[in-house]
Amino acid sequence: MFADSGLGRTLTLVVLTWTIESAVMRIALGDRFGRNSLIDLFWINLLTNPAANYAYGELGWNWWLVESLVTITEAWPIARSLRVSIGRGFVMSLLANGVTAAVGRGVEVLTS
């Protein structure tokens, strides 16, 4: 089944994180988060998500380190996409990735 394959699972996770981050950004920024930014955010997630999963799942890197690197990496493209300063891009990256990470952690705590 495609969803169980490596590529399928990667894309599923990218789309899920993209959906959550898009919702967070739309709520935070309103109309300033438009169609172009939505598409940019998909590519940004494809840039970081599979690499983060590899670093965390395969290389065994610390979860906090991986999340921090993802947030830092996404700051510039997010800032460029939204046409804001890198500082504000970092804040948006922190917010979006923070919510995604919190949802994941929350699910684990509630179901453990």
């Binding site: 959906t19 919702a23 840039l47 684990e108 705590v109």
Partner: protein
């Protein structure tokens, strides 16, 4: 943004969170991993049951009937399944501990408060920190892991000697799985970087 569309977006986002929860959980359970059963056994606590009642810290988040029942079970068998214990509860107690409470210091219901187990007053004996829990391992690894301790109470001190501890396979001993492959991550990153770059260039030229 209009209030109605914001509300719709909020609902859609919440729905997405709910839908994605199992996959995110699977994501946290790192790729190619599976949940396992990890049990701890204290093989000889019966030797001391005449004078002491044994407790395991932590067991559940809340103190109450369920907690007391679980502790009773543990006190009888000396076996506890630690893989299902909430990691948050483990973090709160700063690890797993075995606690021996003299029967004379027990509450009338046969229990003892969590506070006394966490910071035992004189007379209550607390072990050194025990090994950590094993919750997930590589899919090719075993389904069940055991840690067995031998307990000794000498000179008013509770000692735990490690008899057996099943270690999961190290990462370099397991076969890499396809999902987390570096190749896929690299191809995704290069493709995405190219797409982002071209989109930004096209937009700045427009």
């Amino acid at each position: 943004m209009k209030r109605g569309s914001r509300r719709q977006l909020l609902i859609a986002g919440f729905g997405a969170c709910l839908v994605s929860a199992p996959s995110l959980k699977a994501d946290i359970l790192s790729p190619g991993s599976k949940r396992v059963s990890h049990k701890m056994k204290f093989e000889n606590i019966k030797e001391y049951e005449k004078n002491y009642k044994f407790f395991f810290l932590p067991l559940t988040r809340d103190e109450g009937l369920e907690w007391l029942k679980a502790q009773e079970e543990f006190g009888k068998s000396g076996v506890i399944s630690v893989s299902g214990i909430n990691p948050v509860a483990v973090a709160v107690t700063k690890g797993f501990f075995l606690v021996a409470v003299p029967r004379s210091m027990l509450d009338p219901d046969g229990g003892v408060s969590i506070e006394k187990l966490r910071q035992p007053p004189a007379g209550i004996l607390k072990s050194e920190r025990l090994v950590g829990q094993i919750r997930a391992v590589d899919v090719s690894d075993e389904d069940e892991f055991w840690t067995i301790y031998h307990v000794k109470i000498v000179d008013g001190k509770l000692q735990t000697g490690l008899i057996r501890h099943d270690e999961p396979k190290r990462r370099d001993q397991v076969k890499s799985n396809s999902f987390g492959s570096g190749g896929l991550a690299l191809i995704s990153a290069i493709t995405a970087a190219g797409a982002i770059w071209s989109r930004f260039v096209v937009r700045s030229e427009a």
